[in-house]
Symmetry: C2
Subunit: 320 residues, 2 copies
């Protein structure tokens, strides 16, 4: 880690207080001049650093840039050594993570980007990922997982994200089946989990868990304006959110089979008990969403009284 | 396509007859000198080319080098344009195919190698792939396929490979559950199907179908000598076998759901009706293999009379 990164780490760890140049120099065993040069370089990278004579340096409270150092401050000690990469711009963090996974990147590797030029969502859709406003993160996971358990990944991760948001912002997000996260009737987060597996054993070789979370996103393209929103947290930074997400999701990989998560998943559903419309095989249906089964299927009742179970991903649903 | 490839194509298409240098030059609109130079270059590549005065050139009947041109001669017209790549040496054709698939390589792309340095098999095993003696082939397939149908890929491809071998060599191979191909009680072929999918929809984005077939392999490492064998065909070349495999497998991708294949799969099983031993959770069992169900599970009856269904890949089985 270079001096610039070490200073950034100190500043992130001490967001509440000023650190004098002399103190930073002493703690890192560098000259004050070297410290001053690195502070200057950090400012050029976009960090807003308050400098007050006789008090020293502090990250501006509104400064919210993603960095491995900033995330690591809040990571639980179990995960302190996971590789974290922050790109300023990338096509898609999931695509990059898949490439790295194929080349052997270890379990827990995290790829982040300030901006995605080709962010991807479910069913071949794009994920709008403008610069500096969201968390666009992909994790390389190598759990001991059989394909038949994949639904547990989808439900557990959706629940974990809701829990993190609730804890950090006191807002209570909901889950639109399958795994879009909503806040105040607006979609703020999408999840795309891609897996590489062999058909003969059904074992997952690795999976790429992609999370796109709108944090400060304000200006959406016209087609998203009616449905998309963002978290708009007051004090929490994106680095903190990332770290809490990692702290919640990495332990899940030890065992994705927690059955109780399905209950919490259901309790956070903004679909159950509602009349929805969905399109299947080019036909439009109206139905009451009644339950979610252990395989993640959405059990609905048509107006005719007939029951159907929708399988994840095959249908696009809307509230009436 | 360069002149060398065009000449190779002509020679492969006319394996039974001699073509004079003048005829080749006329057909390809090049000078006889250019033709002669290309023939020399082909010989340097390892092609054995018989040259008889007043008759011309012909590929030696024993010459069996893999080439896109040689394969295309036998491809059905529907698949004439699939990209075919032959590497002299590669780590693993499946790994290369996965890389190319991620970069957008089209459905039907075929990667072959004369030698694999890190050929992979099921359950993390290696696949022994010595130079010039086998078919080490991976196909990039983009079928319209839900994960729940993956068993059909495994069974259909195993059956298709048996059919091709039977048609070309008049030998009747069998399938050892899940999808190893046996001839005369020796394993001659393994299949490794890897897929990339997203968990939310369960749709397969693409799959990599890897086939390793021992064609002329004679010298196996000690640990394989008791179980491995090879096809040893008399007149058929590896290019012909590859083309026939493609001709059988590519149409399957239109619809992997043919239920009748399970019957043919079962009729070719060398496990059904036999007493086997298998190891599951570190415990050794003896059982009679009774049936294969629609999900590819192997139904066995223990000595105690108890029935069990083994799921593909979880167990390693042996005949008693």
């Amino acid at each position: 880690m270079g001096l610039k990164q070490e200073i950034l780490k100190l500043l992130e760890e001490n967001r509440e207080q000023y650190l004098s140049g002399q103190e930073i120099a002493n703690r890192l065993s560098f000259s004050r001049t070297a410290v001053w040069k690195s502070i200057k370089a950090l400012k050029e990278d976009g960090y807003e650093i308050d400098a007050i004579s006789n008090k020293g340096y502090r990250l501006d409270t509104t400064c919210d840039l993603l960095s491995a150092e900033g995330i690591r401050c809040y990571l639980s000690s179990d995960y302190h050594n996971v590789p974290i990469e922050v790109h300023q711009q990338i096509d898609s963090t999931n695509t990059e993570a898949k490439k790295q996974a194929m080349n052997g990147a270890p379990h827990g590797t995290v790829i982040l980007a300030e901006e995605q030029t080709a962010g991807r969502g479910r069913l071949g859709r794009t994920f709008y990922s403008p610069k500096g406003t969201g968390i666009y993160m992909s994790m390389i996971l190598r759990p001991n997982l059989h394909l038949s358990q994949s639904i547990h990944v989808t439900t557990s991760v959706a629940v974990a994200i809701c829990q993190v948001i609730e804890r950090l912002t006191n807002q209570k997000p909901q889950i639109k089946w399958v795994n879009d996260i909503y806040l105040n009737q607006q979609k703020i987060c999408g999840i795309l989990t891609e897996a590489v597996t062999d058909f003969e054993s059904g074992d997952v070789e690795y999976l790429i868990l992609g999370i796109g979370l709108n944090v400060h996103t304000k200006h959406f393209p016209v087609e998203l304006q009616a449905i998309a929103g963002s978290l708009n947290p007051e004090v929490v930074t994106r680095n903190q959110i990332c770290a809490h997400l990692l702290n919640e999701i990495l332990p899940l990989c030890e065992d994705f089979s927690h059955p109780f998560l399905l209950d919490e998943y259901k309790s956070r559903s903004n679909v159950l008990g509602k009349w929805i419309t969905f399109i299947q095989n080019q036909q439009r249906y109206e139905a009451l969403a009644e339950d979610i089964d252990g395989q993640g299927g959405l059990k609905v009742r048509l107006k005719s009284g007939e029951q159907m179970t929708l399988n994840s991903g095959e249908v696009s649903i809307r509230w009436r």
